[in-house]
Amino acid sequence: MHEKAPVLQASDRERIGTRYCKRYRDAGQLPAVLYGHGQAPIPILLESRDTLAHIHKGEKVFRMNFAGAKGGKHKDDGQTVLLKDLQFDYLGSTIVHADFARVDLSERVRTRVPIHLVGEAKGLKQAGAILMHPTAELEIECMVSELPDFIEVDIADLDVGHSIAAAAVKLPSDSMKLITDSHAICAQIVIQLEVEVAEATTATGEAAEPEVITAKKPAEGEEGAKDAKAGAKDAKPAGDKKK
């Protein structure tokens, strides 16, 4: 990945804040921040279209090009960076901000890598069998130079009721270290039962009104007085039974 690391055209962001970031986005630029290696973080601007195309392709390691920056050569020109975080809009579809960390190719970093399930699971041939993959990406620690685009998990031998935990996934290199919880389930085949839905509906249906935890229980001797009081109020709605 590192040899063909795409180059991002970057420039310093002079104005910071919500209002200016919105203007930059409207002008086709993506606000971002660059930090790491003990240096002060600097707000930057990237060309939105190219950057997002690379990010959507799954690229994580880039090289920053500050060509045309004011005041001569930029100190971060040609710097290798790692995509650390993305901020989305409220619908979770549009990227509004990106975080990049300065890295060296020989440096060990922690990042998340997507899992690709390979093969046709034999358990899926059974009626009602569903393939679930609650963990779609693994967090690993590895060198920047050997950061994989994805990790393949073979599910051909996966049967009904069985699962593949994160610890059982073979990482592409021995120097890689798994950070994700080793018990996290990467792939699992479950049988969808029709009975489950019916049971859930009955269970909720029985309780017409929920139990109130803080409801005051009537003390002894007060019940008679309460009954008399309740009789006086004829127009009380039926929902008052719990009181």
């Binding site: 994580k60 409220y90 569903i130 969808q192 029709e194 109130v212 709605p237």
Partner: protein, 139 residues
Amino acid sequence: MALLPKRVKYRKEMRRIRDRKATKGNYVAFGDYGLQSTESLWVSGQQLEAGRIAAQHFLKREGKLIIRVFPDKPISKKPLETRMGTGKAEPDYWAARVKAGKILYEIAGVTEETAKRAFARAAAKMPVKCRFVGRQVRV
């Protein structure tokens, strides 16, 4: 039967502000595809159940349908032809506070085409505008 909680701390609740955007539960987390609300509104337990049944009947026994919201807010309503005042009314139904961006349902184990058709049926039962979304890697 509509969804409702088993136990609550208080019977009645204040209305609170509704016009917000979701910061949690706004991405597909468990299944492969999801139905996302693009508006903020209260969605009643009956509506959620109607949506679930519509999608489940289309799916038959295929796939797994997950409901990501739960109606835990009691909504009070005064009876018809009642004068104003005399305290807060009795709870009428239970609703889920759905903010714009919230994922309402998720499906696992079906093709994209099947999921789209199932969610189209569920979306027709919702009081909010919805859109179909897939799972995406979030770095």
